[in-house]
């Protein structure tokens, strides 16, 4: 048969139609079989932010004893995604509370089975959760001048704490630490203050101005608050300055000392060790300082190795240092585990953009 006859044959029509119709099938691989976990004992949760607007945040779990790493445990245990930008995790009792910033939700999970036990929905842009007691917790927000009060036992929002003199749309409250009946919180984005909240009245009772954009807050063994500012950026209406480490007396709520870094530095992730006598932070390298030091260290604790350090924690039991490398922020990040004197012990891959850690006691 010549080509002309072949092409003009009417038999070609059903053949072509069949070919096209066969192309209607599609492979899809959502897994629906939930895995069963039961992992008692001590461990480390790593929240991996994922990429903004991708909804690919994940939760990893690491056992320092066995070096076993479990990735994507939230999905594997629950058959659903964790969400978009997992910001932080806090353990209270036998539950872990994962704050998923751009999903406007906080998930509560059983810390041994990773199974969801409940969730708090419809938050503005949640960042951190702090437990006052079993029936009251505070949730800080970005782009909101309110801290949400929630009842963890009912997974409900019960009220708000309005921050005085903080603009509504550009409000920012971040990390919280407790001292006595007060909670101290750093106000980061386009802000420059630490606020003091009375947990009995749920009101802001004091405010302390520090440098531009305090990124984090911790409390040491001497009841000194420490905060680390990032200095803003060139062109910011709030100003652009050299970042600084502030020591604040929790009792008097006054600044005791300021350790100034270099203009252009990008410090973040201020942490303490388990004893509360050493501070750690990121500034390209990993830095460490005794809480009684009178000046900043001149040598880093760990030098970067073309790494993009993004998250940091110190094992409260062993004082080992864990630092997260986000690499290019589009692949599984790497966690490096170092001994207290800076020797590499282990390294393991987790999820995309590992940003924060949570120790399971």
């Amino acid at each position: 048969m010549n080509i002309s006859r072949l092409l003009t044959s009417t038999r070609i029509i059903p053949c072509l139609a069949l070919t096209l119709l066969l192309g209607g099938c599609m492979e899809w691989d959502y897994g629906n079989d939930d895995e069963t976990f039961d992992i008692p004992g001590r461990g480390l949760f790593i929240t991996n932010e994922g990429n903004f607007q991708y909804g690919n945040a994940t939760l990893s779990y690491y056992d320092p004893e066995t070096n076993e790493v479990l990735n994507e445990v939230f999905y594997r245990a629950n058959g659903m995604k964790l969400g978009d930008v997992a910001q932080s995790m806090t353990i209270h009792g036998d539950k872990g509370w994962i704050v998923v910033n751009n999903s406007h939700v906080i998930f509560a999970i059983d810390i041994n089975t990773f199974k969801e036990t409940g969730r708090i929905e419809d938050l503005t842009s949640p960042r951190y959760i702090y437990f006052v007691n079993d029936h009251k917790a505070y949730v800080t927000q970005l782009w909101d001048n309110r801290i949400f009060i929630v009842d963890p036992s009912r997974y409900e929002i019960t009220g708000t704490i309005e921050i005085p003199d903080m603009p509504q749309g550009t409000g920012s409250t971040e990390q919280m630490v407790g001292y006595g009946r007060f909670v101290y919180c750093n106000c980061w984005s386009y802000n420059n203050s630490i606020i003091k909240i009375d947990t009995e009245t749920d009101r802001v009772v004091d405010r302390l101005t520090v440098g531009v954009q305090p990124t984090s807050v911790v409390i040491d063994k001497n009841n000194k608050l420490w905060t680390l500012t990032d200095g803003g950026f060139d062109g910011s209406p709030l100003g652009y300055e050299a970042p600084a480490l502030y020591r604040i007396d929790a009792e008097t709520f006054t600044i005791e000392k300021v350790f100034r870094l270099e203009l252009g530095d990008t410090p973040s992730e201020l942490q303490t060790n388990g004893d509360g006598d050493r501070l750690y932070w990121l500034n390209n390298d990993v830095w460490c300082m005794n809480v009684t030091a009178s000046q900043l260290p001149v040598q880093p604790f760990l030098e970067q190795r073309a790494t993009k350090y993004y998250g940091l924690t110190v094992d409260p039991g062993s004082n080992e240092v864990y630092v997260a490398d986000a690499i290019d922020y589009q692949q599984q990040g790497m966690i490096y585990r170092y001994s207290p004197d800076g020797h590499l012990i282990n390294e393991f891959y987790v999820g995309i953009t590992p940003g924060s850690f949570c120790w399971k006691p």
Partner: protein, 692 residues
């Protein structure tokens, strides 16, 4: 028949194919199949050029289509989109969206802030001629097209006298599309006014596999969970387009035209599948008002021609992200505004001293004035502050080319292009093209080209606040391609054509935006990318019997796009891996079966797996499964004394596939739209609009 006549016959069939292309109506094509004339010669301007042209029936298949839809089903370009009226960008030959240049009537319309073009904002009904210039071939028109160029334009092709057309589409999810066109034409003057308005709540249902709904007991213990069936939340859109064209032809070699296009778009940005916010308490909305205009003068003589274009673009884009604090009390979290004003000028000249030589020269300038602001920063003292930038930049591009055809079967072309952005000059972009007919039987043609190319950082790349990086280097690289094509046919019975091409390009200093520890993103030159692959296309038009037409077009591309840069960190696993969101394999098939005034169209597209991570990890969210998509439509034309009526039913996602094109963005299942078109018969016209 002499060899020359035979060659010319086959050449004319190619020309015929280009014009008739793939989705031609039966009657029209049938006529053309019988009108094969031995008259044509390959255009000198297209020596060695890899080009995909879309015919008017493809562009005007229905009024609800955007150029994103046309590219999806009629080319192997990957269109990244998450539904109708959402940001739709392309990956052309494995490159990023900003590596595809887009021109409209000669004027570049890429957003100077972002570098890319949103194809969902270009209704295909407003485009009369469209083509893709692949890779190197884009250097003939503009610089910076590392992936290629999408060339769009309008034509003064209107019937004589006063004519009108009105089409309405009513579809699923309360979708309404309106199109109206009023034209007037005579020997000298042509005027066309086109109007499109589309609106929809776009709240299609889907099963949310990413989320579960909890069932609690009275003590707040979870006693059950299920994946909910949800509606697409916050996906409504209202888009209006108005296009006015006026053409004047002196009939003595001079032609003047004015094109003015106004867009008013108001779109919500859909919520992610993993969003647990209340859709009624959040607003995520983008509004756009854009005006584009071009005035053209073309002066044609027997062996030379020249042209001048001047144009102006104004674009205002607002993005608002708001939260309801208390009833009717909304707090603005993001309130960004950008305003772009672009003044454009271009001069072209072409000269052909004889049949063997052809020279062209071109210079264009785009002067951008950009103001980008986030007006929502309110300081603690209550003062409002603006974070943003206010910059201007001139972008000049000039080129000269010489094309030589020593014998009819061989052609060569050299292009030299020089680009200047702001105060930066890029090295000269050289390009060389060659083609030759290696067999007159089947008109088998070999084409090859090579070029160096550059792309300047966009204004946001350099100046966006916070994060802009004024120290960025240009992206640059080499591109090569070679291809083989053939065309054959039998007068009045069938035409068959196809081609295969191989391309290979290296792009250095690839710019990507990365997060910083300060909470914002910043761009850096980080990657070296090797994008290569094969593109195949084939088309067939057959008239098996009188009144019948089968018309098929297919394309396939294999596009590895591999990161070959240095490791960014000792643990980096991305080197040697496919870039995220670039499928290795993609294909499309369009088939039309026509019988008299009936026409049935089947459109099919396939994309292979896309990775979402640079390391190509096969994690739960690290990849998107491959998918096939099928759309059909059935059309019937009716002719009455006062008007022609066209009826059409389109079915999208025929097999109700549950699929994702972008992570966490659900796509609609099977959906329908019915169109009715009315073309009044005001007077005896040479032709009327009959396409729906």
């Amino acid at each position: 028949m002499t060899m020359h006549n035979a060659t010319m016959k086959y050449l004319s069939i190619i020309i015929l194919l280009v014009f008739s292309s793939l989705c031609m109506k039966a009657e029209t094509l049938h006529k053309q199949l019988r009108q094969v004339q031995v008259t044509a010669r390959r255009p000198m301007k297209e020596i060695g050029v890899q080009k995909t042209a879309f015919d008017s029936l493809t562009l005007k298949e229905n009024i609800a289509l955007s150029m994103a839809d046309v590219l999806t089903y009629n080319s192997s370009v990957f269109v990244k989109s998450y539904g109708r009226a959402t940001l739709s960008t392309v990956a052309f030959r494995g490159t990023s969206p900003s590596h595809t240049q887009v021109t409209w009537n000669g004027m570049r319309i890429n957003n100077p802030m972002l570098g890319m073009t949103d194809f969902s904002t270009i209704p295909s009904y407003f485009i009369d001629q469209a083509s893709l210039l692949h890779g190197t071939s884009s250097v003939n028109e503009t610089g910076g097209g590392l992936g290629g160029l999408v060339k769009l334009g309008t034509l003064p092709d209107v019937p004589d006298g006063l004519n009108a057309q009105y089409v309405q589409g009513i579809g699923s999810f309360s979708t309404f599309d309106e199109f109206a066109r009023l034209t007037y034409g005579n020997d000298h003057w042509q005027s066309s006014t086109r109007f499109v308005y589309s609106s929809s709540p776009n709240d299609y249902k889907y099963i949310n596999h990413d989320k579960k709904v909890n069932i609690y007991d009275e003590n707040k213990n979870i006693i059950g969970q299920y994946h909910p069936t949800e509606r697409n939340r916050s996906g409504a859109f209202k888009d209006m387009h108005l296009l006015q064209e006026i053409y004047y032809n002196t009939l003595r070699g001079d032609r003047f035209s004015l094109n003015a296009w106004y867009i008013n778009s108001n779109r919500e940005l859909p919520m992610l599948t993993t969003d647990y916010g209340n859709e009624h308490k959040f607003e995520n909305r983008q509004r756009e008002q854009t005006f584009r205009s071009v005035v053209t003068w073309d002066h044609n003589r027997s062996n030379w021609k020249t042209g001048i274009k001047v144009g102006y673009i104004h674009s205002w884009v607002a993005y608002d992200y708001r939260r309801e604090i208390t009833t009717d009390n909304w707090s603005s979290m993001t309130r960004s505004r950008s305003r772009v004003n672009t003044v454009y000028g271009q001069a072209d000249g072409e000269y052909s001293p004889n049949r063997k030589w052809y020279f062209t020269a071109n210079i264009s300038a785009h002067q951008h004035f950009v103001r980008s602001e986030d007006k929502n920063v309110i300081l603690q003292d209550g003062e409002k502050a603006i974070v943003g930038y206010d910059m201007s930049r001139i972008e000049i591009s000039g080129s000269a080319s010489a094309k030589w055809r020593p014998i009819d079967r061989l052609g060569m072309s050299v292009v030299l292009r020089q680009d200047m952005y702001g105060d930066r000059w890029a090295p000269v972009i050289p390009a060389f093209f060659i083609d030759g007919i290696i067999s007159p039987v089947g008109n088998v043609m070999l084409k090859a080209s090579i070029s160096r190319n550059h792309r300047f950082p966009t204004l946001n790349d350099m100046y966006f606040l916070p994060g802009g990086n004024p120290d960025l280097k240009n992206e640059h690289g080499f591109s090569y391609d070679a291809g083989l094509s053939f065309d054959t046919g039998r007068e009045g019975r069938f035409t068959l054509g196809g081609g295969v091409s191989w391309f290979d390009s290296y792009i250095n200093d690839w710019i990507i935006w990365l997060p910083t520890t300060k909470g914002f993103f910043s761009p850096r030159n980080v990657k070296k990318v090797h994008a290569y692959g094969i593109e195949v296309n084939a088309n067939l038009a057959v008239t098996p019997a009188d009144g019948w037409l089968i018309d098929l077009h297919g394309s396939y591309s294999w596009t590895p796009s591999v990161n070959e840069g240095e490791k960014m960190s000792p643990a980096d696993m991305s080197v040697g891996k496919q870039l995220p969101y670039v499928p290795r394999n993609s294909a499309s098939v369009t088939g039309r079966l026509s019988w008299k005034t009936w026409s049935f169209l089947y459109k099919w597209a396939y994309y292979s797996e896309r990775y979402t991570m640079s390391s190509n990890d096969y994690t739960i969210s690290g990849h998107l499964p491959p998918y096939f998509m099928s759309n059909i439509s059935l059309e019937k034309g009716l002719s009455f004394k006062p008007a022609d009526i066209q009826l059409k039913l389109a079915v999208n996602n025929l097999f109700n596939e549950d699929y994702l094109s972008v992570l966490s963005r659900p796509m609609p299942g099977i959906n329908f739209e019915f169109f009715i078109g009315i073309t009044p018969k005001f007077s005896k016209s040479k032709k009327n609009y009959t396409d729906l």
